[in-house]
Symmetry: C2
Subunit: 161 residues, 2 copies
Amino acid sequence: MSAALAGGAGLAEEMPEMVLKAIGVVRNGVHEPPEPRSDWDKVVSEIIVDSSLTEALDGLEEFSHVIVLYWMHRLAGRETPLKQRPMGRPDRPLKGLFPLRTPNRPNPIGKTTVRLLERRGNVLKVEGLDALDGSPALDVKPYMPRYDAAPDAEVPSWVAN
Amino acid sequence: MSAALAGGAGLAEEMPEMVLKAIGVVRNGVHEPPEPRSDWDKVVSEIIVDSSLTEALDGLEEFSHVIVLYWMHRLAGRETPLKQRPMGRPDRPLKGLFPLRTPNRPNPIGKTTVRLLERRGNVLKVEGLDALDGSPALDVKPYMPRYDAAPDAEVPSWVAN
């Protein structure tokens, strides 16, 4: 249990141990985050799913978009400053880490909506996944507007669009 | 490391250990999933964030919607059938688990887009979170249409809207 929790709101005692299993691995040959960040949009990645789970993908190819949860393995164990600047830009106001999409978070889980280009057996080919090569994949969920879209969402003015 | 991975695509050796920390806990008094599932839409929950992380929430209140990642603690360790029926309905065709939003997955991580009603110190009041009372919260990310919306998404006809 984390020191933060043990010293915090007294939540520690009721929390179960939470250990993740990789369901696969991301392959895209990208070993450093591109600049600008929007260059991720066109990156094509393969998610090589463990072959014992191939059957569990059946039907995913009927969706145009999927949500990928992955482990930002290169950041695991790093310190996470509570306040950060959006996009690391000095001209932006300091914000807490939670209102940012910084990868530097207590749990380094990435969540990205991507276009599913192809499913071939246990391999998913996707466009727009911002995961470095070798990232463990944790989950793939179908993008369903009913659950995932918030058409009336409002964001503050310091958010880059 | 999971047996599935060890016996599968040979990914096991390169995977780091991935252990999660709760950043808080969900409180809503809901101890069983409601029927129909759409009843979750109006459930109001409080996410009690560990008080050591209060400052890290600063600025989240500027967003109308947030994405909550949480641990489906009551399902952890359960068997996850590779094929399931959408919504458990016998009249729907069998699909792999990944094209479904079933909570029964290799990693029981829920991902829900919710309306942020209020932030008071370390407490987030949200509407539409489909997490049972006591679920550990793993992350809260701001909903940004740029990253999260897929306006041209297509879904198969067996998806309930």
